[in-house]
């Protein structure tokens, strides 16, 4: 509680100084922003713990264990992507994909989660991965430090609800994110949770005025929940390849509609 309170105060000071949006909107958003920072802080703590265990397994050559820890370790990162992506250098080294690099997998700049994923699933080997694992853990620690010192830009937080959907719509629904492990549904779960969290935090501010809008948004989140629940297995999800064509289309439609609807969330809150 104490943490939450002091964050709220810090947020208020910044927001009032920024003058980027109307004074009422600023005051209204103080509490949601503070709560969101608490959410992100908890996620980054969990990310560090999970990545420490994951990278330890990689370094110990425990391939099966590392494979089992890969998808759950990513979830905390995927849920807070709107904030994590504010640090472009870290996002590139933590979460870039082979095709972000000329020459693909062979490029030595291809490091991070997906470099390890490639080695575990395609090469079935952890050989030479120790420096990659160390760098990933170091990057995640650095991310936590930077986030702790960050004043959250309101438009990035509120816009993050849509940004997460844009990510899924543009480069994830195809299954290209976790192309070696096909654990995409874990990422999706985290992306949707991260987006919905933001909607929940600002809901009280627009509940009365935007009841129809919220109803549509809720319905689409529920549609996604229904589809994902069909593919649940243990603590996580089955391979993305198991997703039927019909469910992929239904998921795509819900994601595109959420991206379209949530693109209006900033404006509805009076943010520029």
């Amino acid at each position: 509680m104490k943490l939450k309170h002091s964050l709220a105060a810090a947020g208020l000071a910044l927001v009032l100084a920024s003058g980027a949006f109307a004074r009422d909107a600023a005051l209204d958003l103080v509490e949601p922003l503070a709560e969101y920072k608490v959410y992100v802080t908890e996620k980054t703590e969990k990310l560090e713990t999970d990545v420490a265990a994951f990278t330890a397994a990689v370094k110990a050559g425990e391939i099966d264990k590392a494979k089992a820890l890969f998808a759950p370790s990513r979830m905390s990162y995927e849920a807070i992507e709107p904030i994590a992506e504010l640090f472009g250098d870290l996002d590139a080294s933590i979460d870039s994909r082979a095709d972000d690099h000329e020459g693909g997998e062979a490029n030595p700049d291809f490091i991070g989660f997906h470099r390890i994923e490639y080695a575990l699933w395609v090469k079935s080997s952890t050989e030479g991965l120790a420096p990659v694992a160390d760098k990933l853990l170091a990057d995640v620690k650095e991310l936590r430090t930077r986030i702790a010192g960050l004043t959250f830009p309101p438009e990035k937080v509120v816009g993050g609800a849509a940004a997460l959907m844009e990510e899924v719509a543009a480069t994830k629904i195809s299954g290209e994110e976790d192309r070696y492990s096909h654990t995409d549904l874990w990422d999706f779960r985290a992306n949707f949770d991260g987006s919905r969290k933001i909607v929940e935090l600002v809901r009280p501010l627009i509940a009365k005025k935007e009841a129809t809008f919220l109803k549509t948004v809720d319905a689409n989140f529920e549609r996604i929940d229904t589809i994902l629940s069909k593919y649940k297995q243990g603590e996580g999800y089955v391979s993305y390849e198991k997703l039927t064509d019909g469910d992929r289309k239904a998921l795509s439609a819900a994601v595109n509609t959420l991206a379209e609807d949530l693109s209006k969330l900033r404006g509805k809150l009076g943010l520029d």
């Binding site: 689409n220 289309k249 439609a253 404006g267």
Partner: protein, 428 residues
């Protein structure tokens, strides 16, 4: 064909107000355009409006404007209500886009109402958006399956095809045509943005028709495809309503479901042309493969005639002048039987980029319409199977679709009769 004697080009007609308004063109008259005529240079206007309302959809017997595309979608609709909602929303968007009008101005804190590609007033620019349905829309929905048009199937491979699954089939296609590429893209983006919950884009192919400067008499030659040949010289005359009723439009007596009256079968083929190899082929061989003179489009047995004069195969039974396996002769042997296989072609040239082998990825976005898909495209393509042209072309995508009947009034909507039929209780 009903054309050799009186060329359709002879049907000259003044263009009224347009001509009168232009002092330099006072004496110019031109033939009313036919579906495969090349768009005339300097004739298109952003204010060109193709009526949306009518018993049949626009974009089928409508003359081609300079740009066209086919976009294919997966449809999300689990029941008749959802399908009706989709058709109503499509109708509303297409009615607006084809008529044009001011784009709503929103609070700048919100995303703008449209892409802005056409500015504050979306001018119609000759836009048509033609909606057609694929077999999968019916096959995947038990409540819609009994209403599938009789000859609508999922396109199957012909021997020379190398179909890319990512460029084939679909629940619903939009054929979007306009004077400018911007107008077609604006319409596509508007529809994608307006109906994200029910339409999921699967593939699209854009194309263009070369704009041709009219001759002194106001007429124009057929546009050329990327093989450098005139394409469409022998197309049935789209201004002949009786002919179109027979060749293109499904009528009440055609054995199709009642709702389908006023529709048409659409065959789409994305046909890559190996243009480098073609350009390295002797001219004489190119002409024998096609069956026409490359420069003039004249049939090989009447080299001094115009492209619109038909060949006389009866005088050339052994194929000495027009080889028996030439493209035009196989496609249309012009005998008593082949009259039943007429199709209305409405193609666009496409140019996509470079293949992994460093060759140009160019070809023909082939689109054709017919009242009977089996007697039309499928029969024609079967006759073409094994033709010498196959060495230079490779169909890679497309599909078969059924063009919905038109929207007659503003209170009507696309697919109304289909939705009503889907709601009727049926005997098990």
């Amino acid at each position: 064909m009903g054309e050799p004697g009186h060329s359709r080009r002879a049907l000259l007609k003044g263009v009224g107000g347009l001509v009168a308004a232009c002092p330099f063109a006072a004496s110019v008259a031109r033939a009313e355009p036919h579906v495969t005529d090349a768009p005339l240079a300097n004739h298109a206007s952003q204010d060109d409006r193709t009526p949306f309302y009518g018993a049949r959809q626009a974009g089928v017997v409508t003359p081609r404007p300079a740009h066209g595309m086919v976009a294919s979608f997966a449809v999300v609709a689990d029941d008749a209500d959802a399908l009706e909602a989709l058709f109503r929303r499509l109708t509303e968007r297409i009615a607006f886009l084809t008529a044009g009008g001011p784009v709503p101005v929103l609070d700048p804190k919100l995303p703008p109402a449209d892409s802005g590609l056409l500015g504050p007033v979306a001018r119609p620019d000759g836009l048509t958006v033609t909606v057609a349905l694929g077999a999968s829309l019916f096959d995947d929905r038990p409540w819609l399956r009994p209403l599938k048009p009789k000859r609508l199937t999922r396109m199957t491979r012909f021997p020379n095809d190398a179909l890319n699954a990512d460029l084939c089939h679909g629940d619903l296609t939009l054929q979007i045509c306009a004077n400018s590429q911007d107008a077609t893209i604006h319409a596509l983006r508007d529809i994608i943005k307006s109906i994200p919950d029910q339409l999921i884009l699967s593939w699209k192919q854009e194309g263009a028709v070369p704009v041709v400067a009219p001759g002194p008499d106001g007429t124009a030659e057929s546009a050329r495809n990327f093989l450098g040949f005139r394409d469409g010289s022998a197309n049935p005359d789209s201004r002949d309503e009786a002919l179109m009723d027979r060749v293109v439009w499904v009528g009440a007596g055609d054995g199709e479901p009642d709702w389908a009256t006023g529709g048409s079968y659409q065959a789409v083929r994305i046909i890559r042309n190996f243009v480098e190899r073609w350009d390295r082929t002797p001219l004489g061989e190119q002409e024998r493969i096609m069956g026409r003179s490359k420069m003039t489009g004249a049939p090989l047995d009447k080299l001094s005639a115009s492209e619109f004069v038909g060949p006389d195969y009866a005088q050339d039974r052994d194929g000495r002048l027009t080889p028996l396996d030439s493209h035009i002769r196989l496609a249309n042997p012009r005998d008593a039987k082949s009259d039943a296989n007429l199709i209305l072609r409405r193609p666009f040239n496409y140019s996509n980029g470079v293949t992994r082998s460093g060759q140009l990825d160019q070809g023909l976005l082939f689109i054709c319409y017919q009242a009977d898909l089996d007697a039309g495209f499928i029969s024609v393509q079967r006759r073409l199977d094994g033709e010498p042209l196959e060495e230079y072309v490779k169909p890679v995508g497309g599909g078969y679709f059924y063009v919905l009947p038109g929207v007659e009034t503003p209170s009507d909507h696309l697919g109304r009769a289909l939705v009503a039929a889907a709601r009727e209780p049926r005997d098990g």
